[in-house]
């Protein structure tokens, strides 16, 4: 493209119109990118996988009412009930919680400090726990029992107990290093073991030990005791399925964790993001029209020049090119600035998110950037085609 051509065709470029387009397109693009990124960043807060217990697991128990307690109705699941749950179409598999049938006393020593408590253990089938099988396992010679604690216990200790007693706060890592002293009593025997906290779960409201340890200890300390499960762990295909909620209500069961709640929140977040995204896209489309109008106006004002260029041997493609490059450059600049602003905005809200949910992982920024690129490509292609069509009209003297 030669200098004379640029000098000719830049005549009548209206800077304020381009600034207007630039601002509008930037706002549109930024809203679109930010809403996508925000959605990606925030969804894990609701659907967070705690690493040990998958999201697609539900924990079921029977509803305990005043009447059922008085009548002494069984709060455990019978085999028929378990088969019924397993036969539902949303169910993938069902596992039983097995509770310890003996007394457990655990104590913890940190330097000169120490405290202990009576407690209980539960186990679920090992394949429901997503952890390295080498760690999630007990052999009677090793005497060290791996334990998973509810994350809320640590929060209660750190924010309630430690604070009021001027005790040090503990991180998950530190707790894993403190040896637990465990005493088990039953059947006239006592076992002393060491325990080790290998992880925390925000989904399981129990003190979890490996199934092989539970089998061994129940056999040792409470042979023949009733082990009908009071809680079941159920893997489902889609935890947000309505049918699950209906089934649970119908059978009078209770779901222990907030999976459905999270499903609803995610759905709500999707709607909000969708609306914001639509607004962003609408602004982008409108800004595209502003750009098209100002380019049309520019072409209109330069019609005579363009016609003369075509008559002395310039091709429509060649006279379209400077305008196409102009719009592509503006679009590209918008994309780059929008991505820059997105990164800045994200760093602001991510700090806030991390302070509230330190365990969430950083989501990828790639989808937002790909979406920005897609908008850039689509808008640029439309611009290129529209400019070329206008120039073709000039070629045909229809302008």
């Amino acid at each position: 493209m030669n200098y004379e051509l640029i000098k000719l065709l830049r005549q009548h470029i209206n800077i304020s119109q381009f600034v207007g387009f630039f601002a509008a397109n930037l706002v549109g693009m930024l809203i679109v990118l930010t809403s996508i990124q925000f959605y990606k960043d925030v969804v894990p807060v609701f659907t967070e996988d705690d690493g040990l217990i998958s999201n697609t697991y539900l924990i079921l128990s029977k509803r305990i009412t005043a009447v059922s307690s008085l009548l002494g109705e069984a709060s455990s699941f019978s085999q028929e009930e378990i088969d019924d749950i397993a036969s539902q179409r949303f169910t993938k598999r069902v596992g039983r919680f097995t509770a310890s049938q003996y007394k457990v006393y655990a104590s913890l020593g940190v330097g000169s400090l120490g405290f202990g408590t009576d407690m209980f253990f539960e186990s679920v089938p090992s394949d429901f726990v997503d952890t390295d099988p080498a760690h999630w396992h007990y052999d009677s010679s090793g005497h060290e029992v791996p334990i998973v604690l509810p994350r809320s216990y640590l929060a209660i200790y750190n924010f309630g107990f430690a604070q009021s007693q001027s005790l040090p706060r503990l991180t998950e890592g530190v707790v894993g290093m403190i040896p637990l002293d465990i005493r088990l009593r039953g059947n006239g025997r006592e076992e002393r073991l060491r325990g080790k906290v290998i992880g925390f779960s925000s989904r399981l409201n129990t003190i979890l030990v490996p199934e092989d340890f539970m089998t061994w200890s129940n056999a040792q300390l409470a042979p023949g005791a009733d082990t009908a499960p009071t809680r079941l762990i159920v893997e489902v295909t889609n935890p947000t399925d309505d049918a699950i909620a209906r089934f649970i209500d119908d059978r009078g069961y209770e779901m222990e964790n907030d999976q459905l709640e999270a499903g609803r929140l995610t759905y709500f977040l999707k709607i909000v993001t969708g609306v914001v995204l639509a607004v962003g896209l609408l602004i982008s489309i409108l800004s595209f029209y502003i750009l098209m109008l100002s380019v049309y106006l520019l072409l209109q004002k330069n019609t005579t020049k363009l016609e003369n260029l075509l008559l002395i041997g310039y091709s429509p493609a060649r006279v379209s090119l400077p305008y196409q490059l102009l719009t592509i450059s503006v679009n590209f600049l918008v994309l780059v600035i929008a991505i820059g602003l997105l990164l800045w905005i994200r760093s602001q809200y991510m700090n806030l998110l991390w302070s509230m949910f330190p365990q969430i992982e950083e989501a990828s920024i790639v989808p937002a950037i790909l979406c920005g690129l897609a908008i850039f490509v689509v808008v640029s292609i439309f611009n290129i085609i529209a400019i070329r069509r206008r120039v073709n009209l000039i070629w045909q003297h229809k302008e």
Binding site: E4, K7, N308, L311, I312, G313, Y314, P316, H397
Partner: protein
Amino acid sequence: MNLKLNSLRLNNVMPRVFSDREKDLQSDIWLHDVEFQRGKYYLVEAASGTGKSSLCAYLIGYRHDYKGTISFDGRDIRTLSTAEWVELRQRSLSLLFQELRLFPELTAWENIEVKNSLTRFKDEKTISRWFEAFGIADKKEIKCGRMSFGQQQRVAMIRALVQPFSFLLVDEPISHLDEANAHTMAEIMQEEARAQGAGIIVTSIGKHMEMNYDVTFTM
């Protein structure tokens, strides 16, 4: 389309606007079978309003509002594609427009560059020589919008010459030129046409360029 055109042929052509006076149309061109051949020089003399500029517009592909058939080397020009017209305008047909169609915001030199950059057919030396021959060497850096029509006519002439052509169409080229400049223009045009083996079609409504025309038509 072959870039070396040998003949431009008008078969029973008439501008559509003349339909109502078809019967009493006195013309050697309209409604006749006319052929312009490469290497020959033609003068088309016309009174105002007889369609002289329309003829130029038809031949350059700018307008198509005529009846009959115009063909280049036997090919009906209504069937030419955009790309073929672009090629023809760059390499086969050169037109000096009556209304010049220069760019007033560009200097005389830049106006030539806009055209010459398409084919790089002429070097700076030749172009400079023509500026001098036409007596406008000092106007190279002046914007065309600030030049007299006569000066602009000479710039437009140079622009028409900086491309390869089989036919050079010049629409009233000397309306604002004195004898000496008209003579220079005729000399340079013929020199270029000879070098390229091209044909020249000159239109005129009053004084016409002195050249050895092979055929003279009256519109």
